[in-house]
Point group: C2
Chain length 190, copies 2
DNA sequence: TCGTCATTTCAGTAATTACTGAAATAACTG
DNA sequence: CAGTTATTTCAGTAATTACTGAAATGACGA
């Protein structure tokens, strides 16, 4: 591996993290490298930087493209492919969320729905379906929220995040008022 | 594998998904099985249900315990260990979020901080640091939000999710008012 | 059309990860 | 304490996944 020390630390870390996700070491490293590179890189440059085989780079780039995490660029009078990541980290986050949802959440939702359609043939199956239904409900609620916020432009999303707690406090205040009203009525009754 | 058909579908699906996460097939299957079981199960029951070795069950349960995804129970006059998952799916979600953060986000944050402390020795490193700093900022914003909302009780969290879009609409309304005010003032100046 | 360069494919192999069976440990009981 | 049962450990092996080098494909210009 042939990289400036700071870049190398970053690249190695992403390699290790890669295996902690579903993604593999090389894919993680290439992504990290592209992310910090000031210019788009071609396959040969990646080979040199990471010291891995040309074919491995080819396959890993293909995987990154499948994840939509990488942009393909071309320079005039040069028929090699150059790769970068989007500049905007919020955009990257969106892509990541979308792709993980597609791969990890959607299939589960559809399996759950399919199973919930079927007639339980025993008490055990009845109970299992009830549990799956709880899971299904939770996931639906989360994805509805996600579909909602993913539309937001970056600055609004940022505001929403910063607000996070404050919205909560507002809700708490509302709850207190409501419960005050309730206890007042209870008192009046008793 | 010796399970009612509906349960089996669910278990097999979780096994496959398992490998898509960092977790492995067996761990995923055991978790799914425990999740839908009406009663806590002991290791031997898991062996029979899934048709895997006793030692594999032992290791996989250990992993699930490391993730805090599983509860250990004891029956009176029985010294075997019985396992369940928490009843409350929201609690499960919280645990999952917390553990994934611990494993996937925190280490990255600390690597980023460490690198950002160092003096860049070249223009390439300077640029890399700038990129890492953007990433660091984004992750910090997300984790701050997360630390905030994870405190919420279940029903408040649910409300917050349901609200998601509406809060947004409120923000949009506020933006419009602000920008109206701004353009009015601009007009007055010109 | 041929030669060159860029990329992809893929069979073979290396590396890693998952799983098993046997033995060890641990926790109890008579 | 010896015997029984539950669990864990771990060396060996199976299975899976990652990676390589060589060959194939494709896309161009002469």
């Amino acid at each position: 591996m042939n990289l400036p020390p700071l870049v190398q630390s970053f690249v190695l870390h992403f390699g290790e993290m890669g295996s902690r996700w579903g993604i593999n070491r090389t894919v993680g490293q290439i992504y990290a490298l592209l992310y910090v590179s000031p210019e788009p890189l071609n396959a040969e440059q990646i080979v040199e930087a990471l010291g891995i085989s040309r074919s491995n780079v080819s396959m890993s780039l293909r995987e990154l493209q499948a994840w939509n995490l990488v942009l393909l660029k071309h320079l005039p009078d040069d028929r090699r492919d150059f790769f970068t990541t989007p500049d905007d980290v919020w955009q990257i986050l969106r892509t990541l969320a979308e792709e993980r949802k597609k791969r990890e959440v959607d299939p589960t939702l559809s399996v759950l729905r399919e199973i919930l359609m079927q007639q339980p043939a025993s008490e055990a199956e009845r109970h299992a379906q009830a549990r799956m239904s709880e899971m299904h409900g939770l996931i639906e609620q989360l994805t509805t929220w996600y579909e909602d916020v993913k539309q937001l432009e970056t600055d609004r999303l940022a505001t929403l995040l910063t607000l996070g707690a404050k919205v909560t406090r507002l809700l708490e205040a509302k709850d207190k008022i409501v419960s005050l009203g309730r206890s007042k009525r209870t008192t009046e009754k008793g």
